[in-house]
């Protein structure tokens, strides 16, 4: 068992330091890069919190949709191939809901401020 603090706490502490102490004293292109870096740390924090439950639910939906077992990667590959071959499409019960839920879960980690995502959250 690893000791505390948790990875999330460590990353947040670093991100908070960069935001509060370093951002005000950095200028030019490096200020842009710093902002990108802080965004990356925040993304990792969100992924650490959301990835586990998201992947579990995604895998369960995929198993029901495809009727097979496997890792979430294997199941996604299988779904991608079935769509490419035309064996599964938007008329397939559950596909549309699955793609929407999966995509919303990705945006919650990648870019929760993206305007399309915020619009769909409100729907």
């Amino acid at each position: 068992m690893q000791d505390e603090p948790t990875p999330t706490e460590l990353i947040q502490a670093v991100a908070d330091f960069l935001r509060a102490e370093i951002t005000p004293v950095i200028k030019g292109h490096n200020a842009f890069k710093l902002r990108v870096g802080i965004n990356a740390l925040d993304l990792v924090t969100r992924q650490l919190a959301l990835e586990g439950p998201g992947d579990t639910a995604e895998a369960a939906r995929l198993k029901a949709l495809l009727g097979i077992d496997g890792s979430v990667m294997e199941l996604n590959r299988a779904l991608a191939e079935k769509i490419a071959r035309g064996e599964v499409d938007l008329d397939t019960p559950g596909l549309k809901e699955h793609l929407w839920q999966t995509t919303m879960d990705k945006l919650a980690v990648d870019q929760p401020n993206y305007a399309s995502y915020k619009r769909e959250l409100g729907n």
């Binding site: 870096g37 990356a40 991608a80 793609l99 399309s116």
Partner: protein, 330 residues
């Protein structure tokens, strides 16, 4: 050191010029650079831009798609001569000048950053007219005289679908939403356009210089090609270029109908179904480009984090594709 070569170069093509000042690198990767500088002249300095591939860098980052810097110079000059908002080209670099390949053009003052154009007060008067203006500019590009155009690649919707499918598969990362989009594109492929014209290929925010008065220049002809003119109108509507203004499809500035009206003022016709097809294609194209950016990040020796984070923007195009192809009932 670039000052020395630039100074010598400028003195040769600009009679009376005594040198250069204020030389600064603006942007670009290792193979494509943009520099700003002033040509020092007793009659008054001239703001200039150098766009070049430095000596030793022949190829562009996407060699199969790039028009090449020589072709870009011809296109910009042609656009300028036709009265389109385009900087005048001052000089095309020669090998013996030691600056690499590329060209020097007049610096057009204004803003290219979309978030400023969409939000700053300075552009408040420009915003309501830009969609229509951009429609007119696109029509002007599509009407440039074929006989004077440089050699460029040709592209149809069908070849583009095949290219995108290949690029997507090369990323080796399963994306059911992209698969769905590829199927949709194949099922809705409108086939070759009745009319083939010059297509700018990257007609969107970032490549427009905007002033308080409107569009002052269209830049970056790197992806210019021959094809369906409706492609440019679809690409500018891709949600990724609306920068939050998602209810105004034309770059967050205005409605498609505004742009179409500007386009048709010139006598050219818009095919809205084709424009919508190209918007879907463009959304997928940007998504696949994000995926390839991830690969470039992984392969680059310095692991640039900007590219890594662009890799995480592919999901933005997935939600936009779903909004286009499988909208939810509200």
């Amino acid at each position: 050191m670039i000052e020395t070569e630039l100074g010598r170069c400028v003195a040769a093509f600009c009679p009376g010029a005594t040198g250069v000042s204020g030389v600064a690198r603006l942007s670009g990767g290792a193979s494509q650079e943009t520099w700003t500088f002033d040509i020092v002249h007793p009659a008054g300095n001239v703001g200039a831009i150098l766009r070049r591939a430095p000596p030793g860098y022949g190829a562009s980052p996407s060699p199969s798609r790039a028009a090449g810097l020589d072709a870009e110079a011809v296109l910009m000059q042609l656009a300028h001569d036709s009265g389109l908002p385009s900087p005048r080209v001052l000089h095309v670099l020669k090998a013996e000048e030691g600056l690499g390949r590329g060209f020097i053009m007049v610096r057009v003052e204004g803003e290219t950053i979309a978030r400023k154009i969409l939000r700053d007060d300075e552009f408040a008067k420009a915003r309501p007219i830009l969609a229509r203006q951009l429609g007119r500019v696109a029509a002007g590009i599509h009407a440039l005289p074929g006989a004077k155009l440089p050699k460029l690649r040709s592209m149809t919707s069908t070849t583009e679908i095949a290219d995108l499918a290949r690029e997507y598969r090369s990323t080796n990362w399963p994306r059911p939403v992209f698969e769905l989009a590829l199927r949709w594109l194949a099922d809705h492929d409108p086939g070759p356009s009745r009319e083939i014209t010059l297509v700018h290929g990257d007609f969107r925010h970032g490549n427009f210089i905007i002033g308080p008065d409107g569009v002052r220049a269209v830049l970056d002809w790197e992806l210019a090609h021959f094809g369906d003119p409706m492609e440019d109108l679809g690409w500018i509507c891709v949600n990724s270029w609306r920068f939050g203004g998602i209810d105004k499809p034309v770059g967050g500035l205005g409605m498609r109908e505004d742009m179409f009206a500007g386009y048709e003022e010139t006598g050219r016709k818009v095919d809205p179904d084709r424009v919508m097809f190209w918007e879907v294609m463009g959304t997928l194209r940007w998504g696949i480009m994000c995926g390839r950016m991830m690969q470039r990040f992984r392969n680059a020796p310095d692991h640039p984090m900007e590219q890594a984070m662009i890799g995480r923007r592919a999901s933005e195009t997935e939600i936009d594709l779903l909004r286009l192809l499988a909208p939810r009932e509200n």
